[in-house]
């Protein structure tokens, strides 16, 4: 007999309410007050969210957000900053860690959850696939990012599904490695994400999307979903948690010293120019994100996007960068005429060594 899970849909809520609700449901699951739950959520007004350990001032264009009525808040889960508008659907799994069928190892658990989304998307006619570590993509372009956290004996794993998406607003409200790039390169960045509207040519009705996603989770996790509402205990917990998630103290939380510096470097390889744009934390020796363009030809085309994914949050120490690049090319069948793996290492090294070059990004930004 299949386990019965709750299917919860709370509709559109402000960011603080949704963030508080995550804590509430996770607490309730941990205390065994509720069954395992699949939760759909949406955001209104639109918002920019940082990951649990991130610093708002390093990740979000706060002035832009203020001017455009974009809420700012902090997730309880990990990962990078994201922009959520009304055209995105959030999905979340709350479950006990020892739920049969949920792998104990993190990597395996990520894969299972992402495969559930892949299954759901296939019901909408979309050929998506899981991209390690935590993404779901269509034709090499990201359509859903995921992340998670835990409390006691319970876990939260969640993600966003881009249904219709205003990429210009995302670029404007998040500090991405794009400043000072030319229009052509910004267009190239936009091509790294996609949404249901772009893939299908239309946005299916939201109930249909939710139905497809719910079926995907039910099949992959081998559970039965029963629609349900928040319980009285959850409502009570929510009343207690909401003030915290609306407070500046929560939103400005991190005590971890960190930096975010934008650096750009060009490297001329025999097969063409490689332009590397990095957000880098020199203090913690991390490449926060990488954006690689140029006039070389990569086969398959998606390989550069995969290399960027491999570099995200990786160590910026020279030996580690060389190893990340080496491992990527060793593990992927990539053909780039006139460009060797070492050329990418050289380009990355130049960008890592370059001075922070973008006054719009605050130059050398630290949350000291």
């Amino acid at each position: 007999m299949k386990q019965i899970w709750r299917l919860l849909d709370t509709g559109e809520l402000p960011a603080a309410d949704n963030m508080a609700l995550e804590r509430v449901i996770l607490t309730a699951r941990s205390c065994n007050l509720i069954p395992n739950t699949l939760h759909f959520l949406q955001f209104s007004p639109h918002c920019a969210l940082v990951g649990y350990h991130q610093a708002v001032e390093l990740e979000i264009e706060e002035d832009y957000c203020r001017e455009h009525g974009i809420d700012i808040n902090r997730r309880i889960s990990g990962g990078g900053s994201i922009y959520m508008d009304e055209g995105q659907l959030g999905w979340e799994i709350f479950a006990l860690k020892n739920t049969p069928g949920i792998p104990k190892r993190l990597d395996d658990m990520y894969r299972l959850m992402c495969e559930s989304v892949v299954n759901g998307l296939s019901r909408l006619g979309i050929d998506a696939r899981y991209r390690p570590l935590n993404d779901i993509e269509v034709g090499g372009r990201k359509i859903s990012g995921t992340g998670g956290t835990e409390m006691g004996n319970a876990l939260l794993y969640h993600g966003t599904l881009l249904t219709d998406f205003n990429v210009d607003t995302m670029i404007a409200c998040l500090k991405l490695p794009l400043k000072k790039l030319e229009d052509k390169q910004i267009r190239s960045f936009k091509e790294r994400v996609t949404c249901l509207k772009e893939v299908l040519g239309y946005v299916p009705p939201l109930p249909d999307i939710k139905k497809a996603m719910a079926r995907g989770f039910a099949e992959v996790l081998n559970v039965e979903l029963m629609p349900g509402a928040l319980t009285g205990e959850e409502e009570t917990l929510m009343t207690g948690e909401l003030p915290k998630f609306r407070s500046a103290e929560w939103i400005r939380l991190p005590r971890v010293l960190q930096e975010s510096n934008l650096t750009v470097a060009d490297y001329k390889a025999p097969g063409g120019l490689i332009r590397v744009s990095l957000l880098i934390d020199h203090l913690r020796q991390r490449i926060k994100s990488a954006f690689i363009t140029g006039d070389f030809f990569a086969y398959p085309e998606r390989s550069i996007l995969d290399l960027e994914a491999a570099l995200k949050n990786s160590s910026s120490r020279p030996d580690d960068v060389r190893e990340t690049v080496r491992r990527f090319f060793a593990g992927n069948d990539v053909q780039i005429p006139g460009v060797a793996p070492d050329d990418f290492y050289q380009a990355l090294s130049l960008a890592i060594a370059a001075q922070s070059s973008n006054e719009n990004n605050g130059g050398n930004n630290a949350n000291r």
Binding site: G51, Y52, H53, I76, S77, G78, G79, G80, K97, N98, K104, R105, L106, D107, M109, Y110, L133, N134, G145, T146, G147, G148, T149, E150, M151, N153, L155, P254, R255, V256, L257, L283, R284, Q285, R286, N313, S314, S315, R317
Partner: protein, 145 residues
């Protein structure tokens, strides 16, 4: 993880362990860290944070957070006591926990409140068995972190 079953985990002698893959070196004070297996399961650690020194914790209380691969996990106190020092170098550079979990990558020092709690911890052989149990999938209540 590929090849995990055949991997030899570094598990030094003279330490005690808890089920969340913390190691403890117990003298007058106690040093706590994450084991080689623990850091490997978590993966490349991106952020590390601790409660402030001076915080009193009970066994199982959250005394920090650890992030890898977009996952935020809890550091749980393996015994009750007072956190007397946290490793600021590891907090600034969490990579140390991956590369030197029993050395520079230690997490925090604490003053135990109740020495009897040490009986809840595992010795080397029991911890090795606990790792194997999880790798083989026999552990029913294994924690994700």
């Amino acid at each position: 993880m590929q090849g995990e079953k055949n991997k030899e985990w570094n598990i030094p002698r003279g330490l005690l362990f808890d089920s969340s893959d913390c190691w403890l070196k117990i003298t007058e004070e106690t040093v706590v860290g994450l084991t080689d297996y623990g850091q490997s399961n978590i993966g490349d650690i991106i952020y590390l944070d601790f409660v402030p020194a001076g915080t009193v914790v009970r066994r199982g209380d959250r005394c920090g957070s650890i992030e890898s691969g977009k996952w935020v996990g809890s550091l749980l106190a393996p015994i009750s006591g007072i956190i007397v020092e946290t490793n600021s170098e590891a907090k600034a550079d969490p990579h140390k926990v991956n590369t030197d979990p029993f050395g520079d990558g230690w997490l925090y020092r604490m003053e135990p409140a109740d020495r009897k709690e040490i009986t809840h911890l595992m010795n080397l052989d029991a911890y090795k068995a606990w790792i194997q149990e999880r790798i083989s999938g026999k552990a029913k209540d294994a924690e994700i972190l």
